[in-house]
């Protein structure tokens, strides 16, 4: 699996969405599952998938699918 596929898979699993919705418009609270509880699950899943531990600021800044791509780049995860 490529990094991008892994990243997408986390979103699909955590938020019960189809891959087709994963674009710039996919943001926090755009679906009911992406509430604070879902956010926590997603962060945990990404940390495990990529073997990283995210900083607080990055966890709370992670407000969209696209923002997440920029944030993960800081952890040397290129998507």
């Amino acid at each position: 699996m490529t990094n991008r596929e892994k990243y997408d898979q986390v979103f699909v699993t955590c938020f019960s969405v189809e891959k087709s919705v994963l674009n710039d418009g996919f943001v926090y609270q755009s679906v009911p599952q992406w509430d604070s509880v879902g956010h926590m699950g997603m962060i945990a899943a990404l940390e495990e998938a990529f073997g990283i531990m995210m900083e607080t600021d990055d966890i709370i800044d992670f407000s969209s699918y696209s923002k997440g791509i920029d944030i993960l780049a800081k952890y040397s995860v290129s998507l």
Partner: protein, 466 residues
């Protein structure tokens, strides 16, 4: 004596700072609440649909001041359940966020403020209401159970005063909200701080959002509360590394915090010079029954502490006899002026008086140590706390039955487990539960079992289902 009658004295002091950083004084708040309540006769029932925003607070305060009786409902309650509740309680008015009012024809708009609308429903103002009844709270927003708790003016005032006293709240405290105001714990944060003329930083943002921390820092919040799940999130956010010099006190209630997390936060807070106070309560006791004085939070980690000022606690055995020995498990019983009048199941119950007479059997099993500190060891009734919300397992089983499916619900706090023998129906059950309760899918798991374990007499052996 009623704090909500007396907040006029705070005049130009800032009462609320909202998410846009706008400041509203006590006078502003009172003017807004007057505008709503002047249109509603006293002792009328109103459904007050709550969000953590100014107009929701203004409505709530106005209803209390105007001796109007609100039913506090979270704005996230699904429309079908809201409908059922309307038919059960027949409120003459609804105070709700304007966008929500557009989805169905709940009533006729008779007043609009910036974001809220007051609707006149088809129901007349003819529901008899007991003179002591102040407000009604839901016991479980998640299954939309029509069971409401009847709180009196005496309950609210005594509990608010007691909490202010043991938390030593002063007018310089600045709470930031973390919990819905339709939830007793969230409401108690509002009540206690408004009583003292504090500035409340009002937000609907969760600790997982940047805007929450910006609000906390920009407005110099000194305190906030959390249910166990809040503290799990704070741990992931590495609260220990945060620099928050203005924080003075954190509180925890809404379920039992794990032993590890309790110790962790007790020591993190000690290092940061923040007081950490673990508390215990129920909607049936207005909000709070006990607290653990922070100086004991390491030595007695896991304890719910001692009764709040004005309250008394003891343990009773299965025969209702008081247990005098220490380290012996019994049902926790609480006595105090904050014990509510009782429940309501429909509009006819609203004229009932005080059934409990100040004594509450909590439904929790506990023991007491030699110093008189209590520890909860289990629950009598079948319910779980999921992210602070009460989920009644029997009600949920009943709801699933309406699908023609049989399940047994179990699990533990924050982890609901639904056991079924109906192969192939797991997804259907999960979707149903999620849509009915609003619970996050990650909090519930549907498990296929070969059979439901039963005793010889046919009783379900819940303990065998793990």
């Amino acid at each position: 004596m009623n704090f909500f009658d007396d907040i006029d004295t705070y005049g130009s002091k800032t009462a609320i700072i909202d998410e846009k950083s706008e400041c509203y004084s006590y006078t502003d708040l009172i003017n807004r609440d007057d505008a709503v309540r002047s249109r509603i006769p006293q002792r009328c029932i109103v459904f007050s649909v709550c969000e953590n925003q100014l107009e929701s607070v203004a409505g709530y305060i106005g209803f209390l001041r105007g001796r109007i009786v609100p039913v506090l409902v979270n704005a996230t309650l699904p429309a079908d359940l809201f409908d059922k509740l309307l038919k059960t309680y027949r409120p003459a008015y609804i105070w709700m966020p304007s966008p929500k009012s557009e989805s169905r024809n709940w009533g006729e708009p008779i007043y609009r403020s910036a974001h809220y609308v007051l609707l006149k429903t088809v129901y007349g103002n003819d529901v008899p209401v007991h003179s002591d009844l102040a407000l009604l709270m839901m016991t479980s927003g998640s299954t939309g159970s029509p069971l409401l708790v009847r709180q009196s003016y005496g309950n609210i005032c005594s509990n608010t005063n007691a909490i202010v006293s043991y938390l030593r709240i002063t007018e310089t405290d600045r709470p930031i909200t973390t919990l819905p105001m339709s939830y007793t714990y969230g409401l108690s944060v509002l009540n206690t701080h408004l009583l003292k003329g504090c500035t409340v930083i009002l937000t609907a943002k969760s600790v997982m959002e940047k805007a929450f921390w910006d609000g906390l820092k920009n407005h110099n919040a000194t305190t906030f509360g959390g249910v166990p799940y809040t503290y799990e999130m704070l741990k992931i956010l590495r609260f220990s590394n945060m620099n928050l010099p203005n924080l003075k006190i954190l509180t925890q209630a809404g379920g039992r915090l794990s032993h590890d997390l309790t110790l962790e936060f007790a020591s993190i807070c000690a290092k940061k010079g923040i007081e950490f106070v673990v508390m215990y309560g129920q909607t049936e006791a207005t909000a709070r029954m006990s607290y653990l004085p922070s100086e004991y939070n390491i030595e007695k980690a896991g304890s719910i502490g001692i009764a709040i000022p004005g309250g008394e606690m003891w343990l009773e055995d299965a025969n209702g006899q008081v247990i005098s020995q220490n380290d012996t498990v019994g049902e926790l019983v609480y006595k105090g002026p904050n014990v509510t009048m009782g429940y309501a199941t429909n509009y006819q119950d609203l004229s009932k008086g005080d059934i409990n007479k100040g004594v509450l059997k909590t439904g929790d099993f506990a023991k007491r140590d030699k110093d008189g500190f209590y520890y909860i060891v289990g629950r009598k009734k079948r319910f779980l706390k999921i992210f602070g919300n009460r989920v009644n397992l029997e009600e949920l089983e009943g709801a699933i039955k309406t699908l023609g499916l049989n399940c047994v619900c179990g699990g533990k706090d924050d982890h609901l487990r639904i056991y079924t023998v109906d192969k192939g129906q797991e997804n259907k059950i999960k979707e149903f539960v999620v849509s009915q309760t609003g619970l996050h899918p990650s909090a519930c798991a549907v498990i296929l079992v070969d059979s439901i374990p039963r005793s010889e007499t046919g009783k379900i052996l819940y303990a065998s289902l793990t």
